[in-house]
């Protein structure tokens, strides 16, 4: 394999001149450029990306932190990010943060910096006070918190409100299952649910459920099923588990109680009954995060958040 030095020697020019031609940066005489390009072609020279990084300070890599891929929500966010990276000829360095521990995120971000990524897109975590990411960084799946971090938030308030509207017909009392309110996105959504329930004068009971065990949450819901006539639950896999358990117990949805999930997971179309839910548009979240990051990399310093619209989807688990 020829090196950049070989090309320079064969063309009778300096290494810096070859570099300028490869990287389309700085002025070079047209005759020189033509000559160098011809030699590059003849020798099948391939510029080494790592060496180019040291020259250019651009790696053309983005670091992405994602909690896991088994949740199709995140898979679709990545798909959205990827669609923007591809157009810009960027690669994705991906790190999986299997823990919600903030220090794991900081570790992944440090590792990205050591690989000279040009920017970082991470799922939400709570950084230390006054933390300043020295590399352009966008946080997705975040609550709408006002600070110096650029956040891409789902419209959790509208999501909560629309969940209530989906089950509001003929309803007297609602079971609201939720993850810990210490999670900012959950707090935003649950606050909006309660506000809308109060506005419509609908009674409710709140129940915190396990973050890892939808089966247990379904048992808990069905065990007290005579005390409510609708369930708003944390997401679609939790709702699908309730549908399964209801069938096992001979309980009819929506006749005995209505049910609404969250996310518009592929499951919703195939459960019986099909599942009413809220679509967070994860592909658009990913696209928006990446588009925003490229703006920051080009010098944009604004720190306002982007709020992504949510769409209620009415199916057969609600009236």
């Amino acid at each position: 394999m020829p090196t950049i030095r070989d090309i320079a020697r064969l063309a009778g020019v300096s290494v810096a001149t070859v570099s300028r031609i490869i990287n389309h940066s700085g002025k070079v005489r047209p005759e020189t450029e033509k000559k160098v390009k011809q030699i590059i072609q003849e020798t099948h020279y391939q510029p080494n990306q790592v060496a180019r990084t040291l020259y250019q300070k651009r790696s053309k890599m983005i670091g992405i932190v994602v909690p896991n891929l088994n949740n199709t929500f995140y898979a679709q966010v990545i798909d959205g990010i990827q669609s923007v990276l591809q157009k810009n000829n960027y690669s994705a360095l991906i790190s999986f943060s299997t823990s919600s521990d903030g220090s794991k995120y900081l570790e992944a971000i440090d590792n990205f910096k050591n690989n000279n990524v040009d920017g970082i897109i991470t799922s939400a975590f709570t950084p230390p006070a006054n933390w300043n990411p020295t590399t352009p960084l966008v946080m997705y799946d975040s609550a709408d918190i006002q600070d110096k971090i650029v956040r891409i938030s789902s419209d959790n308030s509208k999501g909560g409100q629309e969940s209530v509207k989906l089950i509001a017909k003929n309803v007297k009392k609602v079971l609201v299952q939720h993850w810990p309110l210490s999670l900012p996105t959950i707090r935003e959504r649950v606050e909006a649910i309660l506000k809308e329930l109060n506005r419509q004068n609908i009674a409710y009971v709140l129940e915190e459920v396990s973050e890892s065990d939808p089966y247990l949450a379904a048992q808990q819901a069905l065990n007290k099923r005579n005390t409510f006539d609708a369930i708003i639950t944390v997401n679609d896999p939790y709702a699908a588990e309730i549908i399964k358990e209801a069938k096992r117990r001979g309980v009819n949805i929506p006749k005995d109680f209505q049910l609404v999930g969250y996310d518009n997971n592929i499951l919703c179309e195939y459960t019986d009954p099909t599942l009413s839910t809220i679509d967070q548009q994860p592909h658009l979240i990913g696209q928006t995060a990446a588009t925003r990051l490229f703006k920051m990399m080009a010098g944009d310093t604004s720190t306002n958040n982007d709020i992504i619209n949510v769409i209620p989807i009415k199916r057969n688990s609600t009236y």
Copy 2:
């Protein structure tokens, strides 16, 4: 930020000595090592991964090509790969090949090489004759083809045979839906299906279906539903679509016909009836691919393929 030169100057040693200490390579006097480590700690020096790559010829990055993440099969393969990378302190550079076009794969692999990855794990594609990947490379989701490429194959023959066994009770004629037989993994599976059907003297009809439209495939199946009493279809989303369409038409599964999918997708648990299927153990496929790659990176030159066992899962769509 201090550089490696600063550390060397402060410690009164050469840059090469600092490098040896950082990279745990070569001998250094214990007193020198202690002194340099102390200075590294005091100055909060972080070795730059890109610069280390040029020194060490190791980037500690693996390139992964994946068709897409919307299919949970691939998400689980990545998860399995990731579990091995994490243990070895490696990062994943991921490229999405949205096309089955071989040249797209070669492009992604070239891009990985430019980023100096230490190894590559790619989903199956057909490379040019006598293609020699100069970087250690493992192919997953591949047929069991004997050549110089290390392939991780699912046991497609057993998968085909077990599909038949799942529907073999009281069956007279089977509809076998499949993707084009030009795909080597499909060919392996369908050949085993036909062999087992013949062995058991069960009549069948073969039908090639669209690779992108499970809805259309479900219509085609239901339109001729009086001609068979079992369906073996391409994968679980295709089977879920058949369940949905059967319900719409008032057809009962398994009473009117039995149905078996492929992959053990999360959908299988939530359809009504639940879906019998074949589990390919995608997490194990990913783990095996990564473990094998690390062996190759350590000098192993064997080219035999690894065959991953499949597991039939009996649920309520079959007797």
